[in-house]
């Protein structure tokens, strides 16, 4: 997956998939299916946005929920205040980026765990503060519920998932993406060869927080009622990491595959055992980090190569 752009077949398949998803609401008149696909698409955005920073630039964000939550909070407040939803979402994304930079600028000058701890702490501060300041459940006004259209939300989710995946696709080919991967592998060596490490890390952080801020805004637009602290809950961070790693961190297709698999199993298992998926995926996650850092995408790649050239010795 590194260096090369997507293969023509993969590109064709992606176009067909997006086309089918665009037609889905007219072909399938079932809200439950559309809602399910919405969750998959939102998960793709959540995971790809984590992937940009964690997978490409190599910076572990343990508080992704903070930026998702900020996007949701700002969007909902502006939207309820009368602003059109799209500018409201953009404002939410901008505030999320701002908060990201507050942590990123100091933490990225250093190495190691600083950024991870900073984001983890930020998410908790915001979650506790928001739950204290806004203890009441937030529900759409009755008038808005009256003309609530699921397909609007669905198309926004599709657009956002495509935008996030395209961003990653561009990073796999662009010079900036190459620089980010260089920083991930060895920051000193990257800097020695003229890569502006700090600037690239901040670029990745801004893209990542902007996309997840938009995803949070979409959640605020989609969800009829929720407690304002809910989008700040650690679960959103869990989802982003699990999906990204299971699918394949630092790859283009990984978070997409991961999101489909994760959402399916989560919904399937939830019928009988609420939250049981976290145990399965938590164990799977550890196994992948320790033994298969490329995730499912890597596994599929290996299998394909193995089938194509069965007798080739390992290199």
């Amino acid at each position: 997956m590194t260096g090369r752009g997507p293969r023509p077949i993969a590109l064709g398949a992606a176009l067909v998939a997006v086309g089918a998803l665009a037609l889905a609401p007219t072909l399938i008149q079932r809200d439950d299916v559309i809602n399910f696909v919405f969750v998959v698409l939102l998960s793709i955005t959540l995971a790809q946005s984590w992937n940009i920073l964690g997978g490409y630039a190599g910076q572990v964000n343990l508080g992704h929920a903070a930026f998702f939550g900020i996007g949701a909070l700002v969007t909902r407040a502006l939207w309820f205040g009368g602003t059109n939803v799209i500018p409201a979402m953009l404002a939410g994304a901008a505030v999320a980026v701002l908060f990201g930079l507050v942590i990123g600028v100091p933490a990225f000058r250093l190495r190691g765990a600083y950024f991870a701890i900073g984001t983890l702490v930020l998410a908790e501060i915001l979650r506790i503060t928001v739950s204290n300041v806004f203890p009441e459940i937030s529900t759409l006004p009755t008038a808005t519920i009256g003309h609530y259209r699921l397909t609007d939300r669905y198309y926004m989710a599709l657009a956002l998932a495509v935008a996030a995946t395209l961003t990653v696709a561009i990073l796999t080919r662009a010079r900036a993406g190459l620089g980010m991967r260089a920083v991930r592998e060895d920051e000193d060596a990257a800097e020695a060869s003229g890569v502006a490490a700090l600037r690239l890390k901040l670029t990745a952080l801004s893209l990542s927080t902007a996309l997840v801020g938009l995803a949070g805004g979409l959640f605020a637009y989609y969800q009829i009622s929720y407690y304002p602290q809910h989008p700040f809950a650690p679960n959103w961070t869990f989802d982003a990491l699990l999906i990204t790693y299971i699918g394949g961190v630092g790859t283009l297709a990984g978070p997409v595959m991961g999101a489909v698999l994760y959402t399916f199993l989560k919904e399937y298992l939830a019928v009988r055992w609420v939250d049981f998926h976290l145990l399965i995926f938590g164990v799977l996650f550890m196994a992948i980090v320790l033994t298969l850092p490329g995730g499912l995408v890597d596994l599929a790649d290996r299998a394909r190569r193995g089938l194509a050239r069965p007798r080739r010795p390992r290199d």
Partner: protein, 290 residues
Amino acid sequence: MSLVAQQLLLGVLIGGLYGLAAAGLSLVFGVLRVLNVAHGELIMLGGYAAFWLFTLVGMDPFVSLLVVVPAALVVGALLYLGLFASVVRFSDETRIKNSLLVSFGLGLSIHALAVRLWTADERSITTSYGGRALTVAGLAIPELRLLSLAVAFALIALVHALLTRWRWGHAIRATAEDWQAALLVGIDVRKAYLLAFAIGTGLAAAAGGLVSVGYSVSPSIGLEWTLKALIVIVLAGLGSMMGTFLGGILLGVAEAASAAAFGGPYREVVGLVIILLILVARPQGLFGRS
């Protein structure tokens, strides 16, 4: 005034537990350069162990530490061998990153398992002597919490003694100082890692046992305790057990003071804000060696 003094006193009492919770994390991070964000979940498991020993066989929670801590040493050794031994092969930076990820998955799994096994309910141990309190200068000192503080201090003093007197304690400290140099002078660095991780887990379990007596445990306390331990390490630096204990007390008092000033719901926030401020203003101050 006496109300504030009472709150500050309770802050000191819980601060001892913060110190104990942080001591294990500090030891593991200082020696292995492994940042175990599942430390809070290990504390939670220790709390449940004490809770079930009390509920099922009626064992006093302070006595049950004698069972829980040795069991935790074994669990810690197994966790090290199964998960972290393969992480410590890497260079410092990759080591921290991979240990963060692995322990993140570990914490998530333990949390989900605890919810399955024991439900999300809060549990706590109520002993027959639980309600007694000493009165000193108009302040009520709950005996149970005072005893917890004393036990926490005793455990930290024990680990301090082990690190300064015991042969392997010297090996652990040498490894923390410079593992390559330690290797060169013939120290079995792997064994030092194993011991440090086991002791760290033992300390976590002890802290959990004490948490289940004076306070309460539920599957979701893990993250909260990991964060408390991190805050204490940031306040106290690495490398000194007694410093960590005092850092814990400082956090307990700071929380009590902020609860008195801004109201109860914000008591958790003060420590987190301290980390964030130190990170933004003086990032090299995080994890300084004292």
